[in-house]
Amino acid sequence: MNSSDLPSVPKVVVTKVRQRPGDRVFSGLSRLSGSLILALLAGVFGFLFLEGLPALTADPAEISLLERSSENPNFWAYVFPLVYGTLWAAFLALLFAFPVAIGIALFISHYAPRRIAEFLGYVIDLLAAVPSVVYGLWGGTVLAPAIQPLYVSLHENLSFIPFFEGPPSGTGRTILTAAIVLAVMVLPIITAISREVFLQTPVLYEEAALALGATRWEMIRTVVLPVARGGIISSAMLGLGRAFGETMAVAMVLSATGVISVNLISSVNPSTIAANIALSFPEASGLNVNVLIASGLILFAITLVVNSIARWIVDRSKEFSGAN
């Protein structure tokens, strides 16, 4: 900026660095692979769109999947209950997972002894490493039978609440069971992100709060949580994004019929987009495939919106947080 004010200083001669062929090849390669990623993502959108489009344009009467769904066959009538189920299951999962995950993150960052805190973090990461199909197997054969008596007693005592209207499922494979399995699966994501944000709280603030006589909980409530608010919200939304796309746990646990209901414990449950694709795709052919691909595109769009909002919140809260 100031150099233009000083004409007496001789101009610095910028010698152009000689480009060696190796340099050119290497930088070209790395730029190419970066662009390839953009092309790949465009391809994901493009191919899904190309393959999904026939489901919207073709005559719905020709598509057997749509015919089954309602008396007025139509792609949107088919996909709407699935969207509802996806949102509903993910919302329930988040409802269970969020408080527990925040508790774990606080436990690891502020309560556990320093020496074992790192190990406890590994244990929670272990939850994330377990493949989803194993969760599905566990949910379907262990959790569902174990939790079924609870549904019976919930129905007996609380059936005036629409959620527990029943009749209770005989197998325990309800949307509530699926949501619990989903909750276990999104738990590590929410924990990992919020733990990181909690650890970024400026230590000086924490010490200041303690020095003013705050108890540990008061310190957390007045310092840690406000500083981490953005991170907490975005961790919840990223967990939500994961729950939307989770396929196997729902497909293996839920006995779905594709209805819209808030009943948590009956054997008639809404299905989710991802589980519906997994269950219907292997037998699908012709235009049915296009219908499923189009529903996948809708799932992609939903997760994209939720994830983008989450990232946006993270980026915004980074600017304002006291951490920097």
């Binding site: 790395s30 993502l41 436990f107 490493a129 959790l143 108890t215 396929t247 992609f300």
Partner: protein, 362 residues
């Protein structure tokens, strides 16, 4: 009684006066559990075959404990400390709640998986097997082949992209785009990746195409963003002094990257790649869509359906044939194998990260 004793003994120290010793809460916990037991016993239904549900007793006992310790602490120590103690109890129990499914899952997988975790399971395929017997060798093989092919596709692309982001693209428009879209890619639901690979090969090769390569392509979509993210992080950790020292000696940039930057970061990059492989090896949904399933060995990635271990577990569970126990036993053995593979990869990755990490701190 114990409260009086406690106050009397410590009355001389003004900092610890009116604070409860930790043994008080131990006694309270035992008392709460006994109380819960008593409540369950007194309220039992008048049935012959009534059994005590220990889990329910424990849950109710902890709820009693939360109320009890709040009341006692509030009475002796005041409201603020009581809230503090309650928060601590709730936060600690959140951790225990999360451990319950993990422990239950690991115990079930190990106990139920052990029955078929034998030599047959790792040497035989499911060809012509209707009831008992058979194995998952074809599935293990398919998983390994597809995961390797996916790594062959994603590691070069991911690594080169991260090199571009760190070494070449700083501040450029393209690198901002890439960073943003890699974020987007990490959020792609795995089943959508499967649909993409299916749609891609359907357009190229005609409808109904399912093969190993298609599965690998789906896995690559999931793997590339993970590799980019972790390698980018590792490359950024390489101190700039090393690069400057190499430049000062007249080493061209590409050689600096190859001979200085990459070797410094290689441990971290390997860790990231191994974690990414572990992640995609457990994926079921994309392979269900793109690679299909089969009962037989398939070494050819370019033709025919290819079985994978997660799909083996899935199909054994979903379509339990004439002998459901045999199918379920195979499913659990497959789950055990899968967990073991993933755990070994995870532990190996962490071990590499710890052993070969460069000593950056002076």
């Amino acid at each position: 009684m114990s409260l009086n004793l406690n106050v009397a003994a410590k009355a001389t120290n003004s900092y610890s006066s009116s604070r409860l010793g930790s043994y008080v809460f131990g006694l309270l916990l035992i008392g709460a559990l006994l109380l819960s037991l008593a409540v369950f016993y007194l309220l039992r239904p008048a049935e012959e075959d009534w059994q005590l549900n220990l889990v329910a007793v424990a849950i109710v006992g902890v709820i009693f404990y939360v109320i009890l310790q709040y009341a006692v602490s509030r009475f002796v120590e005041g409201a603020r400390r009581a809230v503090d103690r309650t928060a601590q109890v709730l936060i600690t129990s959140a951790f225990l709640i999360a451990l319950t499914p993990l422990i239950s899952l690991l115990i079930t997988v190990v106990t139920k998986g052990a029955s078929r975790f034998d030599l047959d399971f790792f040497t035989l395929s499911m060809r012509n097997v209707v009831g008992e017997g058979g194995g998952a060798a074809h599935a293990v093989l398919g998983t390994v082949i597809m995961a390797l092919a996916a790594s062959v596709i994603s590691v070069p692309i991911g690594l080169l992209t991260s090199i571009y982001l760190v070494e070449y693209g700083q501040g450029r428009r393209l690198s901002q785009w890439i960073t943003f879209f890699v974020d987007v890619m990490t959020g792609i639901p795995s089943i959508v990746a499967g649909l993409f690979a299916y749609a891609l090969f359907e357009i190229i090769l005609g409808p109904g195409t399912r093969m190993g390569l298609s599965g690998s392509a789906a896995l690559s979509v999931l793997m590339i963003p993970i590799v980019v993210r972790s390698s980018e992080e590792m490359l950024r950790l390489v101190p700039n002094e090393l690069r400057e020292a190499a430049f000062a000696l007249g080493v061209p940039k590409w050689l600096t990257i190859l001979k200085v930057v990459l070797p410094t970061a290689i441990a971290g990059i390997t860790t990231g790649v191994m974690l990414a492989i572990a992640r995609v090896m457990g994926e079921t949904a994309p392979l269900l869509i793109a690679a299909g399933f089969s009962n037989d060995f398939n070494f050819d990635i370019f033709h025919d359906r290819m079985q994978s271990l997660p799909n083996f577990v899935y199909y054994s569970y979903v379509s339990q044939g004439s002998v459901p126990e045999a199918y379920l036993a195979r499913a659990w053995a497959g789950a055990l194998t899968l967990i073991l593979i993933v755990m070994v990869l995870n532990l190996g990755a962490r071990l590499i990260a710890r052993t070969f990490a460069p000593k950056i701190g002076r």
